[in-house]
């Protein structure tokens, strides 16, 4: 690419390349090299790393349990994206409709969760979802349930917590693009007789799709790799890839197996992101 820039005599492009070099070289040294080491380790057959072979790969992909772990991790990401989407769109539409002062207040409320550490947010959810927590006490006092519900250590509880924790990642790109959409297009759609729902699905949704894809990518990547929330709220009965990697590398010291799990997580998240990217391109061509 640099060669093409020089050939075309574009001075500006050559400068661009040099400015990007420090970051590029940093990535090369601190991402590409460790990645190569990770890939190398995954081809050791035993945990002592004495013998080469595909044993770790065949053990991981030949065992229904680990395939289910991959599936569950993906499922968690999809649930988090779906839940944040359902809650973020109404809020984004509201944001679009209000004045600048109300917008500033909304932005502050949306950003607030990002100002506290993820550990604190996660432990706060234990207090809220526990048997004697706020949710259960309210339900019991209202007479809606006799025995406290089990919300902690369930997939539902984890999705609820992740939805709140990841919400800003979905909202921020969505709000930016929502503010850029031309109100005239919405007005035209309404004036031509389209219902509110039709206007939303045929005008607003397609126009804001790039923002949603950016948000969904962030939420998906963040939810599938949310080690703390997954292990603290999800508990040991829900095994996801991040916890499995920690267990295999730190407790069992089976680094080849942990490397296989790490690469699987990396490619699983990448596959999800690529799928979302395709969706964006598909939406544009239609």
């Amino acid at each position: 690419m640099a060669g093409a820039a020089v050939a075309s005599g574009g001075m500006g492009e050559r400068v661009d390349w040099r400015l990007a070099a420090p970051l590029g070289l940093t990535y090369l040294a601190f991402f590409a090299a460790p990645f190569a080491i990770l890939l190398g380790i995954s081809f050791y057959a035993d945990s002592e790393q004495t013998r080469l072979g595909l044993d770790s790969w065949t053990k991981f992909y030949g065992d229904a349990f680990y395939l289910k772990v991959i599936f569950d991790t993906l499922k968690l990401g999809v649930f988090a994206v779906a839940a944040t989407t359902l809650l973020a769109y109404p809020l984004a539409l509201l944001f679009r409709g209000v004045g600048p002062r109300a917008q500033r207040v909304l932005i502050f409320i949306i950003l607030m969760p990002l100002l506290t550490s993820v550990v604190i947010r996660t432990f706060a959810w234990i207090v809220i979802l526990a048997r004697e927590g706020v949710v259960n006490q309210t339900l019991i006092r209202l007479g809606l349930t006799v025995a406290p519900l089990n919300l902690l250590q369930t997939e539902l509880g984890l999705v609820i917590a992740l939805t709140q924790i990841e919400m800003p990642l979905m909202l921020l790109p969505l709000l930016t693009i929502m503010n850029q959409t031309d109100q005239n297009l919405v007005d035209a759609s309404r004036a031509l007789g389209a219902s509110k729902w039709r206007t939303f699905f045929r005008v607003i949704l397609p126009l804001t799709l790039p923002g949603w894809i950016a948000g969904a990518t962030l939420v998906f990547a963040s939810a599938t790799t949310a080690f703390i929330s997954q292990s603290v709220i999800g508990g040991a009965r829900l095994v996801y890839l991040p916890a499995l990697i920690w267990q295999q590398s730190m407790v069992v010291y089976n680094w080849p197996f942990a490397a296989v799990a790490s690469l699987t997580l990396l490619f699983t998240v990448l596959a999800g992101i690529t799928a979302l990217g395709w969706l964006g391109r598909f939406a544009k061509t239609n």
């Binding site: 289910k68 250590q153 040991a236 009965r237 829900l238």
Partner: protein, 342 residues
């Protein structure tokens, strides 16, 4: 607004840099980096041991807060460039680190307090700094009678309120081994306990990460768990309704040990650090609230908040051979994962 040019900035930065260097040159004769468990251990060693070592030997300690498994992983990953001088480890990770050759040998003659420690607690590569006692903890307000044995944990009404944790930690591993024995199993045959776990897992109040257990107990999510006396004393100190029970087959004990990392920079200081850690002064202070650590120095008189009466009591408790446990642990962890997941 004041005008500030580049030269002013440089002068200012240089002055700050020098100011930062000065106290170092003026004081400390030595320094040391020691790994320490996060939480109570870090507070205890920062609050009690660091000032004592500063006073007696003028050594500054930098603490690296890491769990035992993380310490071993970090030293292994560093491949010969030790990230710290001293480990603090439980028997499982200690046996693994010993096997991987991560320790310098210990010369007990360099420890002034060595004679104050019961025989066998200072070995060729380890200095015991603390004992842990593991048993059953329960909420006395929720049950008319306390659970008495490991087998009771799998019976109603306890099983419905039990918090289960697996083989990731030392206390979890040894507790489950004792449960296996209660169902006619052994270290060599864990099948009976896996069968019981499989039956119990649908009924229990929670299956969670070991670090989450105290929080779940405090929140009333679970009312029975297996844990060490240290955790029980800390929760009690915070006003939680919790009591410790020694199972009928006896409580479990194991040692927490200090080690010098292979190739450490500050070996002489590491000896002074370990010597201070086992001194009567430090051990006496660490057994009190809020630290509640069981001392191993014979000169220390035990306080009554510890759930044990004397250091001799430790010799009658159940112990385990980690060289037999470690080779099987990976398989147990995998089996536990598979049996308990939904």
């Amino acid at each position: 607004m004041t005008d500030m040019n580049r030269r002013d900035l440089w002068t200012g930065a240089a002055a700050l840099g020098l100011a930062g260097l000065l106290p170092l040159r003026a004081h400390a004769t030595g320094s040391l980096t020691a790994a320490i468990y996060p939480g109570t251990w870090e507070e205890a060693y920062r609050g009690v041991l660091a000032p004592a070592l500063k006073k007696s030997a003028d050594i500054d300690i930098a603490f690296d807060a890491l769990f035992a498994v993380d310490q071993v992983a970090k030293v292994r990953a560093a491949r010969g460039v030790p990230p710290f001088d001293c480990f603090v480890l439980d028997p499982g990770p200690a046996a693994a680190a010993m096997q991987a050759g991560l320790f310098e040998p210990i010369d007990a003659s360099k420890l002034a307090n060595a004679s104050k420690v019961p025989a066998g607690l200072i070995t060729s590569h380890a200095v015991t700094c603390n004992a842990q006692v593991v048993g059953i903890a329960y909420n006395p307000k929720k049950f008319a009678t306390p659970p008495k044995s490991w087998a009771d944990l799998f019976k109603s009404p306890y099983v419905e309120r039990l918090g289960l944790t697996g083989f990731q930690t030392t206390f979890g591993t040894v507790s489950i081994i004792e449960m296996a024995k209660a169902f006619d199993g052994s270290i060599e045959n864990m099948e009976p306990i896996f069968a019981e776990l499989k039956k119990a897992v649908a009924k229990v109040a929670a299956v969670a990460a070991p670090a989450a257990m105290p929080g779940l107990f405090q929140q009333g999510q679970i009312d029975v768990m297996y844990t060490n006396t240290n955790t029980v004393a800390i929760l009690k100190g915070r006003g939680v309704d919790i009591e410790f029970v020694k199972p009928d087959t006896g409580a479990i004990t194991f040692q927490t040990t200090l080690h010098i990392v292979k190739g450490a920079d500050n070996v002489a200081n590491a000896y002074k650090y370990m010597d201070t850690a086992i001194s009567a002064e430090v051990q006496g202070a660490l057994q009190k609230q809020p630290y509640n650590m069981i001392p191993i120095n014979k000169d220390v008189t035990l306080v009554d908040t510890l759930d044990i009466k004397s250091i001799d009591e430790l010799t009658k408790m159940v112990t385990h051979d980690w060289t037999k446990i470690n080779p099987q642990r990976a398989a147990w962890i995998e089996r536990f994962n598979k049996e308990v997941t939904k």
